[in-house]
Symmetry: C2
Subunit: 339 residues, 2 copies
DNA sequence: CCATTATCGGTAATCGCTTCACTGATCTTT
DNA sequence: AAAGATCAGTGAAGCGATTACCGATAATGG
């Protein structure tokens, strides 16, 4: 592998000049010299060593991604996929690479080391669980940080998210407008900030409309189809079963569609169903899923952009909250007539 | 940020000793000295600088990922998700981070530089398009490379894939066994190696069973629902329409399910449908999709493992080909009776 | 009792690059 | 014509680690 010294020797100048030419440093260089250096670099197939460069310039041109402490499989679900896709697109545009820390975040002392090794210019904390010290842990390392899908809790750490509360209210409003009164909510992993907000949005939405929610109408389930089927069966076995169901995310809503088929429950005939996220597959299911749009790619791209702005020393807003949108498809309808 | 010198000073030893202690180097160190060093490192919140370490040791403990030159969105579809998930899991286990090169591969001269910057210990080339010089381009940089989802074309570059030809034949056999004779194939992007193999597998499978395939029974479509619907409509408008359809991947098959509903075509009543990949959603669709299992996570994990083995100087097999499996669900059935 | 060896530790070179401080020319300006 | 300015380029000091090489002491054996 050729080094900068080889290029200097080959073009008859000092390493300083080579460095200046290759980095387009703001400093006069004779046009002919420049060409000689460039030619030599090409001829020797020279590529500056990223480690050496990073060591002295303290810049790596790469963005770290730290996932939260949830199972690794969740890392590559549709959620993480969407976020990552946006980050990659933005990174490509601004010439930053993406560095994924494979170990999950535990706490600042244990997990800090890899990040503090200065391997990246900044870190994106993806959907930290509630109570995580990731934002403060990274901030104390004096590294620019942007949090995705949760408030950072720190004034100088920006975060990007969708307005989950508003989204949940849009869902509730839609169901109320259709004439539903007995509306249930299906939750899952409550360690996620977004899910808590959605549940809260559902509850306050109902409350503001003057509707009370029976405690047995708020149930929690896992991602396993069997559990989902059971939750549905239990809800429908209630003396006064719900006529509509708001599910915390599309993944579970899609599974619930399957569960409903298995239980011979007609959707939206006997039960209206609304999800959250607007996954690619929401439009392909049978019936197509009514849901709330969650702009994952935009969120990822914005987070990356804010992080890069911070890295490059520009001021950035404290947060960027996207507005969700109701997407009406075929899984919601007016409630069935009383029998 | 504390450096190794600070730790040395704080514990009253030389930097050598600090380095030896921290790296558990094979060299005797007094137990008490060791403790002093460790304590000082902890107290100063010291973390070795990855750049400095990488510069001298020529090891970064990270795996590069180079995507092929397809649209970035494809980078984070279910395919890339699955592969990435496996890579991450393996990386986590073996303490390697993952570095995503955001720029897509163009050719060895243009795209080589980022990789040759020695930022990673090796590179995984994900699904290079046919004719890509990525394997040779990386190999010439003298970096360990493993190719995913395509043959590397180079004897010393291992690759990992599923047996697409066998998979396609399993699909054909299944349909033939059900009694179908008029079987069509729906292809898409033919620049991908896997899709070419699947098409070839379909064709030879049919041929070996003594069935001829009419040219209009092999059609190509895009990922856009409209195009898929049109392709389906055209196939069914044929004088002797197919009774079964083998689709090159589940994504398109799932869209096709939707298209069939829109066109009022019963699946599997009038048309049997079989996909390829066994996406998470294949089991949730209505009807549940019969398909061929493509072990993406295993492929990703194996590719990462092979790369790490190579990096660490161990011998690895030239390739690792996974065997696909037929997963029978509800989208295939015997052909309808003649009318 | 001296040579040998095991143990414990230090000095300094090195990795490949950026950048500060500086030197000569050549060109303006008063 | 002397004094700045500007232009083009060099030398050397790091950046923060690893590691080859060497030194000193204590234990061991013939």
């Amino acid at each position: 592998m050729a080094t900068i010294h080889d290029v200097a020797k080959a073009s008859g100048v000092s390493v300083t000049t080579v460095s200046v030419v290759l980095n387009n440093a703001p400093r006069p260089v004779n046009a002919e010299t420049r060409q000689r250096v460039l030619a030599a670099a090409r001829r020797l197939n020279y590529h500056p060593n990223a480690m050496a460069r990073g060591l002295v310039s303290r810049r790596t041109h790469s963005l770290g991604i730290q996932f939260s402490s949830v199972e690794p499989s969740v890392v590559t679900n549709y959620y993480a996929s969407g976020i990552l896709s946006g980050i990659l697109a933005e990174g490509a545009m601004r010439k930053y690479d993406i560095h994924l820390f494979t170990s999950l975040w535990e706490n600042a002392t244990v997990s800090g080391s890899r990040i503090k090794a200065q391997r990246t210019d900044g870190v994106l904390a993806i959907s930290p669980v509630i109570g995580s010290d990731i934002a403060s842990g990274l901030e104390q390392a004096n590294l620019p940080v942007v949090v995705v899908s949760a408030p950072s809790g720190l004034p100088n750490v920006p975060y990007v998210d969708v307005d989950n509360i508003l989204g949940a209210r849009l869902a509730v409003e839609h169901l109320l407008e259709l004439g539903h009164t007995r509306i249930a909510y299906l939750a899952t992993d409550r360690t996620m900030h977004s899910e808590r907000e959605r549940e809260a949005g559902f509850l306050t939405g109902m409350q503001e409309a003057g509707r009370s929610v029976a405690p047995e109408f708020v149930v929690s389930t896992s991602y396993v189809l069997g559990d989902i089927t059971q939750s549905l069966a239990r809800l429908l076995a209630l003396p006064a079963p719900p006529t509509a169901l708001f599910v915390c995310n599309d993944n579970i809503a899609l599974s619930l569609l399957k569960a409903a088929r298995d239980l011979n429950v007609s959707i939206p005939g006997t039960l209206s169903l609304i999800g959250f996220d607007d996954t690619d597959l929401a439009s392909l299911s049978a019936p197509a899923l009514t849901t709330i749009r969650h702009p994952l790619r935009d969120i990822g791209a914005t987070a990356a952009r804010l992080l890069i702005e911070r890295i490059e020393g520009r001021a950035v807003p404290e947060r960027h909250i996207f507005t969700p949108e109701l997407v009406v498809r075929a899984s919601t309808a007016p409630p069935p007539h009383r029998t």
